[in-house]
Amino acid sequence: MSMRWGDVCSLEEEKMAGNMKDEILHDHNHDGIDRRGFLKCMAWAGTGAFCVMQGGVLKSYSMSRIAEMNPENVRGEFSFVQISDSHMGFNKAANPDVAATLKAAVDKINALPARPEFLLHTGDISHLSKPEEFDGVEQILKNASAKDVFYVPGEHDVLNDDGKEYLERFGKGAQAGGWYSFEKKGVHFVGLVNVMNLKAGGLGTLGREQLQWLEKDVKHLKSSTPIIVFAHIPLWAVYPDWGWGTEDSAQALSYLKKFGSVTVLNGHIHQTMQKVEGNVTFHTACSTAFPQPKPGEAPSPGPMKVPAEQLRSVLGITDVNYVRGQHALGVVDSTLA
């Protein structure tokens, strides 16, 4: 079913229409908010909507109506945007111009009704760990409305000398292995590195040193502190046959059991996927460079070619909104189309 922008409806209209679909967003609030209608809208539009939690109510706005929106109406406590897998340097058939699609992602970010506080890049910034590739991404992101960018590396970013180039550029203030944490408006962010020292036949790995650091890092935080963990390879077993998982993530998550709200943001798989497990919501982002097949739907997880005119509809950004006191973050994916 194809819907044009003008057809995307608001939550209220959907409720009246009585159209329900399976929920795919996270709701462990049990606060009676009807997200189903909203999600159906999102699915129809294909390009997503901007959504924000305000005073416990999830409100959604079509991206096509951005120009009409009053920024006050769409502000939560703060918002940030996750981008991922820019693969600067990639130039094969699946996308001969990854710089152009990254620029389109920046345009999308700049068109958001509320300026995001910062960007999170969940890795595979470069394609071959080359200095000019990292430069290229940093240059393009300088044009984003959000000036701060927090990075974690993907396996493509640490190809030479144990990730020396990446660590020199983005490892300042981080632990030696590149992991780190920071606070923003009472939310605790943790950037993890699970792409170093990969073993033959293995998955992503955090390693003992990083796990020990993580345990200490969150030990003394109040359990009401919202936690956001970001890392490149998914921290849950999306599809182990393709290496889409992290072998020691269970241990990391065990340190986060006491927290009421944990959100895990990952990349690597070049498509969006969600999973809720207890107090933890997992979410993966699209790539800004090229899509990859769904688990098992191709012989291998390589770049997936789509007709040129469809490319931007399978690439995207993720907008995350936080409202104090709410357990669930508003997480919205939108494509570059």
């Binding site: 094969k92 058939a93 699946a94 394609h127 071959l128 760990s129 396996e155 493509h156 190809l159 030479n160 990969l198 073993k199 033959a200 036949g201 293995g202 998955l203 046959d241 393709w242 290496g243 012989p299 291998s300 997880p301 390589g302 770049p303």
Partner: protein, 113 residues
């Protein structure tokens, strides 16, 4: 008379040994190289058996970069983009499991006899 025969025998012997060494070196040439293609996130063939002294060449035909890294740290390629190659000559018999350090689920083995 005897000396003539002797010379003939020597020449014949020389000719035969020359033929044999030619044959031997021809065998060495065909045994001395082997190729592994990297494509679709896999090594093909995943397991090969070669004689001692063989130079194995890996060539990346995938549209994604890969590496060839011995699990016992015997050899390690740089990152191979599409069409790039890596070669290693196996001088000792044994089993040499390897993998792609970027996509560790990709594994292969060279058996040298």
């Amino acid at each position: 008379m005897a000396s003539v025969i002797a010379t003939a025998v020597l020449s014949f012997g020389g000719f035969v040994s020359e033929r044999m060494s030619l044959a031997a070196s021809a065998q060495e040439k065909s045994a001395s190289t082997a190729e592994v293609k990297i494509d679709n996130f896999s090594f093909g063939p995943a397991a090969i058996t070669v004689p001692v002294g063989t130079t194995v060449t890996w060539i990346n035909r995938d549209d994604i970069p890969h590496t060839v890294v011995s699990t016992e740290k015997v050899f390690k390629s740089k990152v191979l983009d599409t069409e790039e190659k890596f070669s290693y000559t196996f001088t000792k018999p044994g089993e040499y499991p390897y993998f792609c350090s970027i996509h560790p689920k990709m594994t292969g083995k060279v058996v040298v006899q």
